[in-house]
């Protein structure tokens, strides 16, 4: 077994430090929720959290007081409604004030692409006419040197740590994932250090249609965490727990019920 493959708690202790910029990605699918809970358990503070869709896992990290800043493009409970802990932090500074840096999905995706590509910025047709550039310093107009057209530039995202969940890895630490792959490849390659939690370790990565393989040497640590995406899902292993997303609305709505949930995670 590769030395790259370690228990989740060891991986978080080694890779995630107070004050780091940390991106947990997974576009509805393959969200590394268990890794988020481990960050809460280990009591990390002052993190800059990066994620296109801060949903339940970031509501939990924000409510637990791990975050100083959030870089994002859509902060909601998908199909259900608001993120109450996120709103409480932005509107009331509870449990701590939360600085925000707000983008669109297209902008965030391109920032990861630039980060993975070793470029300082990415170019897109985006944000034109919106109020986002007036409030987000990391959005700027740029003139095409060939056509003179005005486009939009966004700087690369290069997190200290990128964390994703995947279906499986082999014993050498090569990682394989399929289904909705989101920005998985980009965030792993853009980050200085990376962790992939997996449903299982297998002898051989048999081919799957549409699957992405990340060679083990491009990943810092792999941790086996069966069910580690719950309430998100891992195609071929589990279904999205839509009932839990609905239930989170009630759990997170007030500080006391959230506090009870937090006690359970920390126990």
């Amino acid at each position: 077994m590769s030395a790259r493959i370690v228990p989740l708690a060891d991986a978080i202790a080694e890779l995630v430090h107070d004050g780091d910029t940390v991106a947990l990605e997974g576009f509805t699918h393959l969200i590394p929720v268990a890794a988020g809970h481990e960050i809460i358990r280990q009591g990390r503070r002052g993190l800059t959290l990066v994620r296109m869709t801060p949903d339940i896992v970031y509501d939990q990290l924000i409510g637990a007081g791990c975050a100083a800043k959030l870089v994002f493009s859509w902060a909601g409970n998908p199909g259900v409604g608001s993120l109450h802990r996120f709103r409480d932090a932005v509107q009331h500074g509870w449990p701590a004030p939360l600085e925000i840096e707000e983008h669109s999905h297209a902008g965030m995706a391109n920032r990861y692409v630039a980060g993975a590509s070793g470029l300082p910025f990415a170019v897109l047709r985006g944000y034109l006419g919106t109020d986002l550039p007036a409030h987000t310093a990391t959005i700027a107009p740029i003139t095409c040197p060939f056509t003179g057209e005005t486009l939009t530039a966004v700087p690369a995202l290069n997190p200290d740590v990128g964390i994703v969940h995947a279906q499986r890895a082999d014993r050498a630490g090569n990682v394989q994932f399929w289904g909705i792959t989101g920005v998985h490849k980009e965030v792993v390659l853009a980050s200085a250090r990376s962790l992939v939690t997996v449903e299982e370790i297998v002898d051989e990565l048999t081919p799957v249609p549409g699957a992405v393989v990340l060679p083990g040497w491009a990943v810092t640590r792999v941790a086996p965490v069966p069910g580690g995406a719950h309430p998100s899902y891992a195609m071929g292993y589990s279904d999205r727990d839509n009932d839990y997303y609905q239930a989170w609305d009630r759990i997170s709505r007030d500080r006391d019920t959230f506090g009870e949930w937090l006690t359970g995670v920390r126990a």
Partner: protein, 252 residues
């Protein structure tokens, strides 16, 4: 069969989608309507979700834009950067189907904050997601939203997705390629941009709704088109298909 105002809205929105279209679908009301269209008059409609699923054919209504049923039934599943860069940005998607927390007189959409101060918002909403670029790059945009004075405002507190700005020519000046909002379908009727001013005006009322009701539910002095038509009531087939999708069992 009798129906609710929400059902009328969803049916009207579904009818606006032609079968030969590729539709970028937001979650919630737009997703219900797009799935209804595919199950009734537009079986060839290509549903595109920002999670990367192209040509999804869900047999039940997805709760999120990334439910497993979308990936499992799609013609193609692509990464999120590919979805926005290769498929949306060059104008390959005909219709963008969006919701709104606020929409204004010129069809600009806010899903970011309610209140005048971004730094200290009255209500913090989820934010942009894919909407700004969907509104910019799709051939045209259809908005599905319940009509009230809270939602239909003279000027949005925050422009998350650009509609027609403050009038004619604004989209062209910015170099936006799509036509922007062409239909706003509500639980009361349909608003469309006036060809000259790009201001949203009332063009259609759902059965049983009066123009006065629509005016009362709008935060600017809503003008009516020269001829306001009445929406065809939902057919039994449409209602049956819709209720099968949403799991609604009883008639209101």
């Amino acid at each position: 069969m009798s129906w609710t105002a929400d059902e009328m809205m969803t049916v009207a929105a579904a009818r606006a989608l032609r079968g030969d279209t590729r539709c970028f679908v937001g979650i919630g009301l737009p997703s219900t309507a797009a799935n209804l269209a595919r199950r009734t008059h537009a079986p060839e409609l290509v549903l595109v979700y920002e999670s990367g699923t192209i040509g999804a054919k869900p047999d039940r209504l997805p709760l999120s834009i990334g439910d497993g049923v979308l990936a499992a039934t799609a013609d193609a599943v692509v990464s999120v950067p590919e979805m926005f860069n290769y498929w949306l940005q060059p104008g390959r998607i005909g219709v963008g189907f969006l919701g709104a927390a606020q929409i204004d007189r010129h069809g600009n959409i806010n899903t970011t904050v309610i209140g005048p101060d971004y730094a200290d918002p009255g209500v913090r909403l989820p934010g942009a997601g894919g909407a700004p670029e969907i509104a910019a790059s799709c051939g045209e945009v259809i908005v599905v939203v319940r009509q009230s004075r809270r939602t239909f405002v003279d000027r949005v507190d925050f422009v998350t997705s650009f509609g027609h700005g403050s009038g004619p020519g604004d989209r062209a000046r910015l170099g936006l390629r799509g036509r922007g909002p062409v239909l706003v379908i509500t639980d009361l009727g349909v608003l469309e941009p006036d060809p000259d001013t790009r201001e949203l005006i009332l063009t259609r009322l759902h059965p049983g709704v009066t123009a006065e009701q629509a005016v009362a539910a709008t935060g600017w002095p809503l003008r009516a088109a020269a001829a306001v038509t009445t929406t065809e009531p939902p057919s039994e087939d449409e209602l049956t298909a819709l209720r099968a999708l949403t799991g609604a069992k009883e008639n209101p």
